[in-house]
């Protein structure tokens, strides 16, 4: 048989929905030329629960538990996005203590979420041990949440008008202890990964996301900042009381998986800084303002966005003056961030595709809602 008779073809593979590294139920239809990925088509929707439609049939305060399920790795932030939007819609003033508690919880949850990301990302690269180190620290944060609101994953903590529960008195010492050891634990991760030649080779120059592409696809969050764009809602248009805190926005230079890794590790430190300032300045007083279950915001609409761990999370609520929203649109970062995967993932090895997918930090309930 001559060489001409040998037929080669691209191999079509369904990566997912049952695949160890699609972080949930995402299906990537990929075409492969040997080891190289030539075409990627993400199929989403396996986790669609029509949360936006459910919102139209719930009273405003009743919808908070559903927001937990939008991003179960960062429920506090998802809570936060919704209550900030609803309060803006109804012009609700909330007690200062509640604002501080919200910031503490949101930033702790950001740390927890980034730790989950770090854990799964290193597993995607084949290193199992950092996974458990990251989960060790996450455990401390979950303990803090548990003692506050009794839940470890879906907190239902923030309510319209404040937060559901005040922190117990053993919260602060435990938090301070955590803040004391946490920076050294980040150093541990860096020791294991940052200077590891294999890790460097697997992430440097892999999945370069240029600034322009990021703009075009409306990428946000650490993935955008990794490309060197200094854009963080907490600084750009401060919500809650973020303008009172002193923190930096880490950015990358190249926009590769390495930069996204570095940005997130830096954000761990910055978030810890914010939590420290917030617990230092925590005022006394009320932690919530009573808002009735049949709370009626005035007619009108509101668009409000916050910086969730994965990027911008925005709520667009249209109210017709009844206790239920007329329409609610939720903008989530993962949905937009996933769309660049076919752009930056092609012409890479399949191992790199896994690394890129991991570095974008996509969570599927947020994609499908």
């Amino acid at each position: 048989m001559s060489v001409k008779q040998l037929r080669t073809e691209e191999m079509l593979i369904n990566m997912g929905p049952q695949h160890p590294s699609t972080h949930g139920v995402c299906k990537l239809v990929i075409k492969m030329d040997g080891e190289e990925v030539k075409y990627i088509q993400p199929h989403v929707g396996f986790l669609h629960r029509s949360i936006e439609k459910i919102a139209e049939n719930r009273n405003y305060p009743q919808f908070v538990p559903y927001t937990d399920r939008i991003d179960y790795c960062a429920s506090m932030n998802a809570n936060h996005a919704y209550v900030v939007a609803a309060e803006k819609l109804g012009d609700v003033e909330i007690p200062e203590r509640a604002e501080y508690l919200r910031v503490i919880m949101a930033e702790l949850n950001r740390i927890a979420s980034h730790l989950v990301w770090l854990a799964t990302f290193t597993i995607d690269l084949g290193a199992v041990t950092p996974f458990l180190y990251a989960f060790r620290e996450r455990e401390d944060i979950l303990d803090l949440f548990e003692m506050t609101c009794g839940q470890r994953l879906t907190y239902n903590y923030m309510t319209i008008g404040g937060v559901g529960w005040d922190i117990p008195k053993e919260f602060e010492p435990k938090l301070r202890q955590f803040l004391k050891i946490f920076p050294s634990r980040i150093d541990d991760y860096e020791d294991l990964l940052t200077n590891n030649p294999i890790f460097l080779h697997r992430t440097k120059g892999v999945g370069v996301l240029p600034k322009e592409t990021a703009y075009e696809y409306s990428v946000s969050g650490p993935s955008l900042r990794g490309s060197g764009v200094k854009w963080d809602i907490r600084k750009a248009e401060p919500y809650s009381i973020y303008d009172k805190f002193d923190f930096d926005i880490p950015i990358g230079t190249e926009g590769d998986a390495w930069d996204r890794y570095k940005v997130r590790l830096q954000e761990l430190r910055e978030s810890a800084k914010i939590v420290e300032q917030a617990i230092d300045g925590l005022p006394g007083g009320d932690f919530k303002k009573k808002v009735p279950l049949t709370w009626k915001p005035p007619e009108g609409e509101v668009f409000c966005r916050i910086e969730a761990p994965r990027g911008e999370m925005a709520y667009h609520i249209i109210s017709d003056g009844t206790p239920k929203p007329y329409r609610m649109k939720i903008r989530t970062a993962s949905f937009c961030n996933l769309q660049v995967l076919p752009i930056i993932g092609v012409n890479h090895m399949i191992a790199d595709l896994v690394a890129i997918f991991g570095s974008l930090d996509i969570i599927l309930p947020e994609v499908d809602r």
């Binding site: 597993i123 084949g126 199992v128 180190y133 294991l192 990964l193 399949i350 191992a351 896994v354």
Partner: protein, 346 residues
């Protein structure tokens, strides 16, 4: 005092006294086979448990704790579970090849033990081409992985099989070349003669005369055994499970078994060729039986392999190949040249 050789000699004499010569050959062949199978199985059972414990303690957890003292029965319990599992064969699989792949893998892993001296006189057959035989027979694994990858009729398996073929063939070259330095110094291919030459204090071990050769061998051997950071043929996060994705029950267990056997094999070769085999590090420690020294050194080496696995991320397939051909191979050649100069000068 506790040497095992006299016991085997006594058994041999007893057999000679009651059986004709032909039957002695048959019985001793099957007997040694059974002993090696048994000993290796015990090692595998231990390694599986040990790896779980090592990884657990590196990751700040306990690992298996419920089945027996510190979970020492865990592997046996898992084995029983695997025996009971439904034995699935995919509909479109190439049945014959599919069934034979684990057997080939298993047999190839065991055949290497023919020429490994476990202690003074504890060797099945001291072939005068011992090293050559081991290199040839361990590479046989690749055939089984290709068979498994192809016969499963699964795209992930196929990718895994192809990867393993590329990887093992590439790393076979630096691996073989890295051993040439030892062969040049020892001037023999027989495993027993090589060990005998390393007698005395530990500085007689070849690792001190062949440090480069040892490093190249150890890295290449890690790749040969599909251990992290070179476990790309079964890269879980990329290929689900690679070549064995469709295997279940005992067939899967045989692949698993072979992987751990290979770990012991590469450690045993490293110990034999570079770390003085059954010799104690100092002559006055000779009162400890030789087989204990050998097994102890092997366990240390296996521990290092586990340490690698639970520390490093996995390399990418093209980086793996580049590493083999652009770094390991030149290094192996440099080692041969240096050894040549050394022999010429001293």
């Amino acid at each position: 005092m506790l040497e095992l050789r006299p016991i085997f000699d006594a058994i041999g004499e007893f057999l000679n006294s009651i059986l004709p010569e032909f039957w002695v050959t048959i019985v001793s062949a099957f007997g040694t086979g059974a002993i090696i199978l048994g000993v290796a199985s015990v090692f595998v059972l231990f390694f599986v448990w040990w790896e779980r414990k090592v990884s657990a303690h590196m990751q700040q957890r306990y690992g298996p704790m419920r089945t027996g003292w510190h979970g020492w029965l865990q592997t046996i319990a898992d084995g029983v579970k695997l025996l009971q599992k439904e034995d699935l064969i995919p509909r479109d699989a190439d049945k014959l090849v599919y069934l034979f792949a684990p057997v080939v893998c298993f047999v190839a892993a065991f055949l290497a033990y023919v020429t490994i001296p476990f202690g003074e006189g504890l060797i099945v057959q001291d072939l005068n081409i011992g090293i050559l035989y081991i290199i040839a027979i361990t590479t046989f694994t690749v055939v089984s992985l290709l068979m498994a990858g192809w016969a499963s009729h699964n795209k992930w398996s196929l990718l895994g099989g192809m990867r393993s073929a590329a990887q093992i063939i590439s790393y076979e070259v630096p691996l073989s070349l890295s051993l040439i330095g030892v062969i040049m110094i020892a001037e023999t291919l027989s495993m027993v003669s090589i060990v005998v030459q390393q007698e005395g204090w530990f500085w007689n071990w070849y690792v001190f005369r062949q440090p480069l050769g040892f490093i190249v061998y150890y890295i290449a051997a890690t790749a040969e055994a599909n251990r992290t950071p070179f476990d790309i043929p079964e890269a879980e996060q990329e290929l689900v499970a690679g070549y064995n994705v469709e295997y279940s029950g005992m067939k899967w267990a045989m692949f698993f078994f072979a992987e751990y056997i290979n770990m012991l094999t590469i450690s045993a070769i490293a110990v034999t060729l570079f770390f003085g085999g059954w010799h104690a590090p100092a002559p006055f420690l000779d009162f400890i039986p030789s087989w204990i020294w050998f097994v102890g050194k092997c366990l240390l080496s296996v521990f290092v392999l586990m340490w690698f696995r639970w520390t490093y991320p996995r390399v990418r397939v093209d980086q793996l190949m580049a590493f083999a051909w652009k770094f390991m191979l030149p290094l192996a050649f440099v080692n041969i040249i240096l050894t040549g100069f050394g022999i010429y000068l001293f």
